[in-house]
Amino acid sequence: MNVNQHTPMASPYGQPQPGYGQPGYAPLDGGYPAPYAPYNGPASAYQPGAPQQGPARGPPASGAPPVSAPQPYNQYSQSQGDMQNGPPLMTQAPPRPAVSQPYNHGAVNLPGPQPSFPQHYGPPPSMQQVTNQMTGMQIASGPPTPAGPGYAPPHSSQPPVSNAYSAAPPPSYTHAPPPVSSAPTQPPPPSGPAPSQQYYGGPPPPSQQQFNSSLPPTSQQQFTSPAPPPSSQQSFPPTSYSGPPPFSSAPPPVSQPAFVSGPPPPAQGSFPPRAPPPSSQPGSFPPPGPPPTSLPSGQYTGPMPPQQQPPPTQPSPYHSGPPPPGSQMPPTSMAQSNHLPPGPQGPPGPPGPLQQHPPQPGMPGGFPPQQNGAFGQVRGPQPGYAGPYPGQPNYGAPAPAPAPAPPAQKRLDPDAIPSPIQVIEDDKAKSTEPFTTGVRGQAPPLVTTNFQVKDQGNASPRFVRCTAYNMPCTADMAKQSQVPLAAVIKPLATLPQDESPPYLVDHGEGGPIRCNRCKAYMCPYMQFIEGGRRFQCGFCSCVTEVPPHYFQHLDHTGKRVDCYDRPELSLGSYEFLATVDYCKNNKLPQPPAFIFLIDVSYNAVKSGMVNIVCQELKTLLDYLPRENPEMDSMVRVGFVTYNKVLHFYNVKASLAQPQMLVVSDVSDMFVPLLDGFLVNVNESRLVIESLLDQIPEMFADTRETETVFGPVIQAGLEALKAADCAGKLFVFHTSLPIAEAPGKLKNREDKKLIGTDKEKSLFQPQVGFYNTLAKECVAQGCCVDLFLFPNQYVDVATLGVVPVSTGGSVYKYTYFQAQTDKERFLNDLRRDVQKLVGFDAVMRVRTSTGIRATDFFGSFFMSNTTDVELAGLDCDKAITVEFKHDDKLSEETGALMQCAVLYTSCSGQRRLRVHNMAVNCCSQLADLYRNCETDTIINFFSKYAFRGILSNPTKAVRDTLVNQCAQILACYRKNCASPSSAGQLILPECMKLLPVYLNCVLKSDVLLPGADVSLDDRAYLRQLISCMDVAESHVFFYPRLLPLTKLESGSLPVAVRDSEERLSKGGVYILETGLHLFLWVGASVQQELLLNIFGTPSFSQIDPNMTSLPVLDNPFSERLREIIDSFRAQRSRYMKLMVVKQEDRTELIFRHFLVEDKSASGGASYVDFLCHMHKEIRQLLS
């Protein structure tokens, strides 16, 4: 993987349509493989190309530039530019979208349903593959590297090569872009193939030729390599399959190392050989260059098959399909045609392709097999291939046989399909300037990119992110596109140090100036008229008098003279000081209070939780949130312990020792004391410490195992009521509350219900009590944070109701053990206690006429349809708001939204935080698709779906998601992409990751639970997602996986894709999801690395139970720990480090997060899903 990334970035992208091709197209599957196979040949060529690209990148235009340039563009250009695939706008490409054209990839045909996809992608993938190979090469051996470079240079140097490349891609991809070639291309393709063959084939003679024909492009490389150097291949095969495989597809290389445990070495050995081939390839490349055109088309298709891996995985799901495929064959052919630019192939088919075709058909038929076969074939030519693949005996087996036979069968090359990593890296590279918010409708950099924000009138993306920055003008358009219109708002987000927090504005006794009609707050969208005496509301157009004290003259442009002196007139985010009119009961609020409620039943004591909490609180209480670091916190604290009964503590400063007040009448909760319960920490320090010392002792011998829960929250609530303040409850709870009391629960975990229509009931609270209680809590401004330490089912779905409705958080530490989980828990607790938080908040989103906020997702409570009530709102909580049209919007004025949050700060000040956001409106769908943000869309979809399972069968929810996405993409295909073969998968540049991310959502534990996933876990995750912001949801669904072979200070290694085949057996990787942190250690990792990290030279001596790395005095260790710390610092929850040794039992858990692979619970692999998606889209289009 790493390799891939490295090279890929440079190479693939660089050249043509980095983004494009690779991402989108990469998909070309194995299906295509067959075709690709041939490609491989070309691919190899590609690789070179890729390399070139690297260099080319800059020069994209340059290198292949001329020739390829155009073509490339089409294909790649997209990538370059902007996301827009739209082959449509080649020209635009530059703009961004235009570039998208590169889509070509998108255009990819889908051979078999799924397979096809991959295949389609294949072509682009080929690029990737190439890169991969490159990488592989590099990895493999010195030679490779050289090769890489070599290639690159060559390519670059050789324009032709690039050309070839570009050419190739173009054809295939862009039917549109390269239209030139497109139509012609296809025909040419055939020729292309030929050419490709020539290119590749040339080198790789016969076999290749065949392949080439089929898949000239991407895969070619591999193929080529194999082909040409059959001998070499042979050599490979012998050495180890791996050898060949690697070649075959980029992935292979990677995988190979990893996979071929045994083989690896050989593989490497083999590599070298390859190296040579590559060289040859390069040679070939140049040739290909010319043919490229053809390649594209052809390549598209089958090429990828090599991906092989997928096959194995895919097999199961898809496989089923395979058989039919046989029958379907005909259709398949269709499919194939689709996939592989039928056109191209078709043509090619006959010519050289024929061979390919066969394969393709085969592909569809037995995808998996095909894939295998494909691969096999591809590499097939590389029979060895199959063998090499470690995991894929299947492959191997099938591969061999089928391979040869249906070389045509292709698999999408994982490298050919859109790569999240690539997109992320591209965005990083692109975003070097601070992002200014002044331009309406401008999409911000991705959440994965570090960038600085300058507030120039719209809220920072740290506060507000939208799914679309170009909203459709009409409801019809919106409906047609199916793109959700939503914003993810994180009102109290923490800003980096170099960005100043929102200014506090005081409008005096009259309170903030607002529109008379819609009550929108003064903001930059208010238009001052009549010399400044009135202002017109940007939301409702109502004209309001300017109060005398706020009057100011206008300058010649109609702006107020003091415009830039006033945050509310020039910034997107700011705060108002609220007056007493904005307070409950027209009374200024009291400072809030924190109440700690600790379970002291047997389990809690035994697990060490009670002791840990009490010890920690002694120091933690000094870090209660405060606005002014110089001052003591105004927050008061109180303590309660409980099991079946509740114990309140009087810790009044004047007492010699704390007093415990037991309330055993839990049926009708009340607070037994007033004075001395909520105290100032500094005043009562001695008494509090004495108390915290005694609590663990007092209950050390408890035998009480039953607990209550409802009364616990009631108690906290009543205490806050009695003190007449808002506040937060920290509840530390261990077990299902079965003691006789309100809110008593019973164990209802029933695995049999999973998958049935009744499954939804498991996510609903089992009693209504907590909903009512939550309502009361919200009314009082009582936010509940729940820390769970369950040893068995505790019914998170029910216990979480109050936290979720009050803006609180749920933390869950299953099988909590003091030794291993202490650190994680304490860090969570510290952060939770210390973080800035607002209380008793009400959020309202106002919009300009034409749209309306219709739905809200997050941790809050709503008693009407407009006001989001949050008992507590902290800096980590995000609320997703969906908008719907209720009228037309105008392109001229755009759409405005203002999110106002009225809250009580932690010092007891009542404030209003206002975030303004303006987006463009468009009447062309293309504009919409050009300015979307997939991460945000996924955030919305996941929340939408996770809420959906409360009322619908899980399967229906999944289907709905898939349908909507298919519609989005189909709409694009239909309305925005330039006409091309129906078989092509064309993705909008901005959404090319939609399939992969969506797949991650679909296979998440919530929507597709594995056998070992408890109901509690699912409910927990469900609730957790509901308040995540975009950055968190992104990494949650698509974990960050970093190779740790080399670490440099100041920068992180480039991530690799979440797939097992990207892991090198000789490497060490770190994977983070925002909740988990893994350190994966390959089985044949170098001793030096082990010594650096663990201080032990032996793999077997690594303690898999360690939760933190040893502190070693070497730069590597230091840097690694630094990285881990920085990861943890970025997330709202502390991630426990888990060391996973390859082939260890715990690896299963780790693999669960390799989301591009097929999951144990039946989730599709990325490649498979892409195929599926393509099928759906095609259905919609037809």
Binding site: P658, V663, S664, D665, P672, S690, L691
Partner: protein, 738 residues
């Protein structure tokens, strides 16, 4: 034979019994004509320091319906070792241990001087005494401080093995766990929700000691203390600290409101706590309240200050909306407590009423004390409370617990009922009359709390028919059997057997008349009147009384706070009646007709008539009304005192004169329980009203010129004087109204 007064005194001295008639009319018809029924004032624990403890158990009549105790009146056949029960005439064998019995070797119970005898039961475990303090925290800091000190002091007076517990209440009720180290622990309950014993037991995590009853006393001893009730010796310091840290109820009381006081629930919890931990064991719940219950069950007034607490006026108009419910609540508590042998004491110290009217049954049913004072910071409360713990010569508390009184009678007479601090045990038997007077329908009563002065009025009915004459010289016998828990923890049985002669009213009317005990009769009738006043409408009672008996006392009784509610709050009435119903004859007499002594240079102190004519300028008067001790300086004496003559050596006699009543008052103060209010006033002093309201208004503004100018002081009242009253009575008596 001695005179009747001597006989009466002797009987009272020996048996603690005073009968209204000491010779009984022999038939029902005659008895009813006597107007005053045959009745007795019985003081079960009459102090008898000379009484030797008998270390064996009484011998009982073997007849199941009788079970009378062997007594000196029984006929004994020493040879056959048989004795005949003098109540049912059953012949009984002596138990084997009496084998050595003979005419010269008689057991104590057969000796005439032991008509009252006390057995000490050796069986069963020794139960510790239990004292549960229930403390109101809604009071001024000053009061609370005084109360805390009194309570702390009381700890030192308790026997080391006694168990103590503490419940405090305000808006909430807190049951304090004792003996916790490092942290004080208490269970808190809402003040508005009543809990039954089972709920309470669960919530406090208590297990019944009954669980281990099956085993030996050693193991039984263990569970006898629990977290809430622990031996004084163990948690002395802890409890002292706990009391020291007691704070005023912290819940804010807004202006115009009364503090929320959960008295009803607090008492309920106290009762429940003892009920499930020490059933049928002597225990005292000592409740200290600084105001009325204002919330929850048992509330007697709302928390709005603008709504005053009910008055007699409201009661008459049926305007006291909380009274019935509250009374019911406290009655049920009283019944529960008495069932388990627990005493409820009420110490109510507040300037306003505290709801004694509603709560009176708690003290009345259980034999608890009711003490009313203005503040806990007064010597009245402090000394009274201290006196609760006084000890007798043997060093035992002058209190007994969980007593039952059983009355056995000869066939000719049956028991109609009892009036006093007791509850019925509903024991039917051959000696139970169908006519109920007071608490009747039973021959057994439970008296949870007893002290040596506790006196019950028992009413009897002669059931012998006119046509079935009793043989000449026959005697009617009554046996009182009192079983109780001595403060040492021992179970004891005191048996008093009395007998009186029968007389035919037609032939021996003089003898019957001569045997009339005027004092006893007055008190017995007064108790009856008070009982009726409690249960019936006021004016009717007075009319009934007027018709019943017309003697001197009745004049004062009519004017006394026991029957007259004018000028008294419902609480005060309840309080007075409570005291009247439990005190012995002497004290009761004082209550009805206060005693007035005069001190002057004319001679030694002398009792004078309770009459306005006794109020002279050169006299110092000392009035004892039981509830008040009042020293009144006549006009001249007051002037002398003001002039300071007592300071001058040559007027030492004046100083002595001033000192004499004070000394006497002190003596009274020291012996009386509850301690009376001590008032020192003079002619024209505002507190002189206490005196003026008691004396017979023989001189008023209406008639003072008809009498000598110089004698006595006129009283400004419209009340009739004794003279007028008597005149009126005479008229009535001779008229043919009857």
């Amino acid at each position: 034979m001695a005179t009747f007064p001597e006989y009466i005194a002797q009987n009272e001295e020996r048996d603690g019994v005073r009968f209204s008639w000491n010779v009984w009319p022999s038939s029902r018809l005659e008895a009813t004509r006597m107007v005053v029924p045959v009745a007795a004032l019985f003081t079960p624990l009459k102090e008898r320091p000379d009484l030797p403890p008998i270390q064996y158990e009484p011998v009982l009549c073997s007849r199941a319906t009788c079970r009378a105790v062997l007594n000196p009146l029984c006929q004994v056949d020493y040879r056959a070792k048989l004795w005949a029960c003098n109540f049912c005439y059953q012949r009984n064998q002596f138990p084997p241990s009496y084998a050595g019995i003979s005419e010269v070797n008689q057991p104590a119970e057969l000796l005439p001087q032991f008509s009252t005898i006390e057995y000490v039961v050796q069986r069963g475990p020794q139960m510790p005494l239990v004292f549960l303090y229930v403390v109101d925290t809604c009071m001024e800091d000053e009061d609370l401080q005084a109360l805390k000190e009194s309570l702390q002091m009381s700890l030192s007076l308790l026997p080391p093995t006694a168990l103590v517990g503490l419940i405090t209440f305000g808006r909430m009720v807190q049951v304090h766990e004792l003996g916790c180290e490092g942290i004080s622990k208490s269970y808190v309950f809402r003040g508005t929700k009543d809990l039954n014993a089972k709920q309470l037991q669960e919530m406090l995590g208590l297990t019944k000691p009954a669980a281990s009853q099956g085993r030996g006393p050693q193991t039984a001893q263990q569970p006898l203390s629990n977290r809430f009730l622990q031996p004084v010796q163990k948690i002395d310091m802890n409890l002292t600290d706990l009391l020291g840290e007691l704070q005023r109820d912290p819940w804010p009381v807004t202006q115009g409101k009364r503090p929320l006081r959960s008295l009803g629930v607090a008492m309920s919890i106290a009762v429940g706590l003892l009920e499930c931990t020490f059933p049928n064991t002597g225990a005292r719940i000592m409740t200290f309240i600084g105001g009325p219950a204002t919330q929850g069950p048992g509330m007697v007034v709302g928390d709005e200050l603008k709504t005053p607490i009910r008055s007699w006026h409201d009661l008459e108009k049926d305007n006291a909306k909380f009274m019935k419910k509250a009374t019911k609540h406290y009655e049920s508590l009283a019944n529960r407590a008495s069932t388990n042998g627990h005493i409820i004491d009420i110490y109510a110290c507040a300037l306003d009423q505290t709801g004694l009217l509603e709560m009176k049954c708690c003290a009345n049913y259980t034999g608890g004390y009711m003490v009313m004072a203005d503040s806990f910071n007064t010597s009245l409360f402090k000394q009274t409370f201290q006196r609760v713990f006084t000890k007798d010569v043997q060093g035992s508390f002058k209190m007994a617990f969980a007593a039952t009184l059983e009355v056995k009678t000869s066939r000719e007479i049956k028991v109609s009922g009892a009036i006093g601090p007791c509850v019925s045990l509903s024991a039917k038997g051959p000696c139970v009359s169908e006519n109920e007077i007071g608490t009747g329908g039973t021959c057994q009563w439970k008296i949870c709390g007893l002290d040596p002065s506790t006196t019950l009025a028992l009413y009897f009915e002669v059931v012998n028919q006119h046509n079935a004459p009793i043989p000449q010289g026959g005697r009617g016998a009554i046996q009182f059997v009192t079983q109780y828990q001595h403060s040492s923890g021992q179970r004891r049985i005191r048996v008093s057997t009395t007998a009186r002669n029968w007389a035919d009213a037609q032939t021996q009317i003089q003898s019957i008349a001569a045997s009339f005990d005027q004092e006893a009769a007055a008190i017995l009738m007064a108790r009856l009147a008070v009982y009726r006043a409690e249960t019936e409408e006021g004016p009717d009672v007075l009319r009934w009384l007027d018709r019943q008996l017309i003697r001197l006392f009745m004049f004062h009784l009519r004017r006394s706070p026991f029957l007259q509610v004018f000028n008294n709050s419902p609480d005060e009435s309840s309080y007075y009646r409570h005291q009247f119903n439990r005190q012995d004859l002497t004290q009761a007499l004082i209550m009805i007709q206060p005693v007035l002594y005069a001190y002057s240079f004319n001679g030694p102190p002398e009792p004078v008539l309770l009459d306005s004519s006794s109020i002279l300028p050169d006299r110092i008067l000392l009035m004892d009304t039981f509830f008040q001790i009042l020293i009144y300086h006549g006009e001249t004496v007051a002037q002398w005192r003001k002039a300071g003559y007592q300071e001058m050596a040559e007027y030492e006699n004046f100083r002595h004169l001033l000192q004499a009543p004070v000394d006497d008052a002190q003596e009274l103060l020291h012996t009386r329980f509850p301690m009376p209010r001590y008032i020192d006033t003079e002619h024209g002093g505002s507190q002189a009203r206490f005196l003026l309201s008691k004396v017979n208004p023989s001189q008023t503004h209406n008639n003072m010129y008809a009498w000598g100018q110089e004698s006595g002081a006129p009283i400004l009242t419209d009340d009739v004087s004794l003279q007028v009253f008597m005149d009126h009575l005479k008229k009535l008596a001779v008229s043919s109204a009857a």
